[in-house]
């Protein structure tokens, strides 16, 4: 069984409001799965179901081959979007408490926490009260508490909100490391840049319905509009212009040309009809000048996200 989580035909209704409508997804073992969607799309409902805070009205959730049940709680680590700590409690005490609730013994919790604190260089916070710490510091502790029981499934809801860029980087590396050590990670966010960087697979959800699912690579391939960007040196662009039109092979058309570059390079953006081998273009252009760079313009996840959500 290669999928760690299988969500099958799950629906949830609150009163007249359909929070989730027949959602099915599969999350491969040891991968990072992005859950994308605008506010109110149903991401949090889905996450709360995995955490057994709410139960689906219909459908089922399979966790590592077995139907999801209370025994799985200690194998899940959850960093919610709305997160906080007891303000007047000491950091170490509180971390031990939260670890104990996940089934770690007091002794183990203390040992593991000390090594995590050590790793983040925050061991001297142990006896300080949470209210004395900055928001960023508190987030680090929340992260540690989320992973302290070595869960097989990690759920991060907007993990980077409130972090400064340095800490975002530390966190990204930790997340990747956790995956490499075997954890399966679900990742809910609006931050599309981090999705492209981290996620292996994503699902786009809107108004309780699944809109898109697949690997980040595949989704980009499926949504590309066959655009290419070519940089030419000594292109003799004047020659193109003089003839009154851009001379390109059949099936290609120019979108923009920019020759204002200080290095006298010309940047061309060209769109191609589908099923045309772009090598034809390269051959054609190589006669006109020196090709400095060539790349296929793939849509960013941000564009796909906005496009898909708006086109509904």
């Amino acid at each position: 069984m290669n999928n760690f989580i299988e969500i099958k035909n799950v629906s949830k209704t609150y009163g007249n409001y359909k929070a989730l409508d027949n959602i099915s997804i599969s999350i491969p073992r040891q991968s990072i799965y992005g859950l994308l969607g605008p506010n109110g799309a149903g991401k949090t409902t889905l996450i709360r179901m995995l955490n057994q805070i709410t139960a689906p009205d219909e459908g089922s959730i399979i966790f590592n081959g077995a139907t999801l049940n209370r025994n799985h709680i200690s194998q899940i680590g959850y960093l919610p979007e709305e997160r906080g700590l007891y303000k007047s409690m000491k950091v170490g005490e509180q971390a031990i408490y939260l670890a104990q609730l996940k089934g770690v013994s007091q002794k183990d919790a203390e040992k593991r926490l000390k090594s995590w604190f050590n790793k983040f260089g925050i061991l001297n916070w142990w006896d300080r009260k949470v209210e004395e710490l900055s928001k960023g510091m508190q987030q680090k502790i929340q992260f540690i508490v989320t992973v302290i029981h070595n869960p097989q499934l990690l759920i991060f809801d907007e993990p980077f909100s409130g972090f400064d860029p340095i800490n975002v980087n530390i966190l990204k590396n930790e997340i990747l490391e956790l995956r490499d050590k075997g954890a399966t990670i679900i990742f809910s966010t609006h931050n599309m840049a981090s999705v492209e960087e981290l996620c292996d697979n994503i699902m786009l959800i809107n108004k309780g319905k699944k809109i898109l699912e697949g690997s980040v690579y595949q989704i980009k391939q499926d949504n590309k509009d066959n655009k290419f960007e070519v940089k030419l040196r000594n292109s003799g662009i004047q020659e193109f212009r003089d003839s009154g039109h851009w001379v390109l092979p059949d099936g290609f058309s120019i979108i923009s040309a920019d020759d204002k570059d200080v290095n006298s390079e010309t940047t061309l953006v060209i769109s191609a009809e589908k099923e045309i081998n772009p090598n034809i273009l390269i051959n054609h252009l190589s006669e006109k000048g020196t090709i400095v760079s060539y790349r296929e313009l793939l849509p960013s996840m941000n564009d796909i996200f906005i496009n898909k959500v708006n086109s509904l």
Binding site: Y14, G15, R48, N51, Q52, I53, I73, I76, Y78, L79, P80, E82, R83, G84, L85, Y86, K87, S88, M89, Y97, L98, Q100, L101, K102, Q142, V145
Partner: protein, 440 residues
């Protein structure tokens, strides 16, 4: 360790370790003991503290010459009609006298009006001393005028002591001391009332804290909301019990030590100022022995085991019932201000039961009291008022069964509201929404 006990432990320890708890727990008994000792201290020392007063008496009727007894505090100096009241008044301002008592001649020849002039507030004890003396004297004179020997009247005066004896069964009779039972009932009912409110409020504040801290979602991804709610309610219950037992132990210790030091020698010394000197030593002895005996009887007449058991049961289940409701309220709101609307409604029944305290004690058999004893929201206070007087077993049993089963039912409903409420941020829910949460 299971989740409930981990939560309970945290709720208990964080509260017990708080500075405010330690201060309240240690200071409480000192204040309480002070409250108990202060009145007796005041009583003993009031005579000493009162300044001596000299009173000029201008008695135009000359009925009362030498009748006002000089005491430690008050000295009476008599003048006859030759002196004018205005010149005596002047002496008050000059500081020779503290007051002038003026008894004018009246047309009926019975002096029922007197005036006490002073430039300062006259102590109540002085004016009542004068009033009593005059009353006695006039009554005495009237009796003589009607041809009755005042000594006969004195001899027929009798002190009546009615002992109320309650027959619990045909063979068992008990002398009851209504005043003492009243005080015990009122005290314990008051404790139940106050403790339920203070600590249910703590439950609510704890829930609101978790909500506003946003830690709630982390915790309920590890434990069931019901476990969190019960852990909090039970943890705080243990805090209450801890505090009350420390209070009891400390305050009784302080009371005994302090009363030994402060009151002991005064009571023990036969010439002490506690008893007035007019009473002879012998009667004093026998009287105090009587009082002792009476006190022992009183204490023996109180059914302590029933009172303590009743207190524990009604206190614990009353608290649990209200704490569950307050937890639900806490889950519905984002801050304490918003909770007021709900609390005021919830606290009405408990207040009602305290307002009806005197009815409850004077008319324990009325149907109102029966209802108050059965309705779970009022029964903890009402029953505590009644138990010292003795309550039929069937009523206690039924009332406890109702209380416990409504605790279970209310907790079940509260848990449903709590479960949904803790994840709702922003606006205060309407009654309609709460109804919806109950049915999720």
């Amino acid at each position: 360790m299971n989740n409930l006990s981990i939560i309970l432990k945290r709720e208990y320890l964080t509260r017990v370790k708080k500075r405010s708890f330690i201060i309240a727990t240690l200071l409480g008994p000192i204040i309480f003991a002070a409250l108990m000792i202060a009145p007796s201290l005041l009583m003993i020392n009031s005579d000493k503290m009162e300044s001596k007063k000299a009173i000029a008496v201008l008695d135009e009727t000359s009925w009362f010459y030498g009748k006002f007894e000089n005491t430690d505090v008050n000295t009476f100096v008599y003048y006859d009609e030759s002196e004018h009241i205005d010149s005596l008044k002047k002496l008050v301002f000059d500081g020779v006298y503290d007051a002038v008592l003026y008894i004018p001649m009246t047309s009926l020849n019975i002096p029922v009006n007197a005036k006490l002039y002073s430039n300062k507030q006259v102590p109540m004890t002085l004016s009542s001393h004068i009033r009593n003396t005059m009353k006695q004297e006039i009554e005495h004179k009237k009796l003589l005028a009607s041809g009755i020997d005042p000594s006969i009247v004195k001899s027929v005066q009798t002190n009546i002591n009615v002992s109320t004896i309650r027959m619990d069964s045909e063979t068992e009779e008990k002398t009851s001391y209504a005043e003492l039972e009243y005080i015990i009932g009122l005290l314990l009912a008051g404790v139940i009332y106050i403790v339920i409110f203070i600590f249910s409020n703590q439950v609510m504040r704890g829930v609101i804290e978790e909500k506003t801290n946003r830690i709630i979602e982390v915790i309920i991804s590890s434990v069931k909301p019901f476990e969190l709610m019960m852990g909090k309610i039970l943890g705080i219950a243990l805090v209450v019990l801890t505090q009350i037992s420390i209070w009891l132990i400390l305050s009784s210790a302080i009371y005994f030590v302090a009363s030994g030091i402060i009151l002991g020698p005064e009571i023990l010394s036969p010439s002490g100022t506690v008893m007035t000197e007019q009473i002879s030593q012998i009667t004093e002895m026998s009287k105090s022995q009587d009082i002792m005996l009476e006190a022992v009887n009183m204490i023996q007449s109180i059914n302590f085991s029933a009172i303590i058991l009743g207190f524990l049961f009604y206190f614990i289940f009353g608290y649990l019932l209200y704490a569950a409701i307050f937890a639900a309220i806490g889950s519905m709101v984002d801050n304490e201000t918003d909770s007021q609307q709900f609390i005021s409604i919830i606290s009405l029944p408990l207040m009602l039961s305290l307002i009806c305290a005197s009815t409850t004690i004077n008319n324990p058999d009325s149907s109102l009291v029966l209802w108050l004893s059965m309705i779970p929201f009022t029964s903890p206070v009402t029953m505590m008022l009644r138990i010292p007087f003795g309550v039929p077993y069937w009523q206690v049993g039924l009332s406890l069964i109702i209380l416990i089963s409504s605790f279970v039912a209310v907790t079940w409903l509260a848990a449903k509201i709590y479960r949904t409420g803790i994840l709702m941020y922003g606006k205060k829910p309407s009654w309609k929404e709460i109804w919806k949460w109950l049915r999720y």
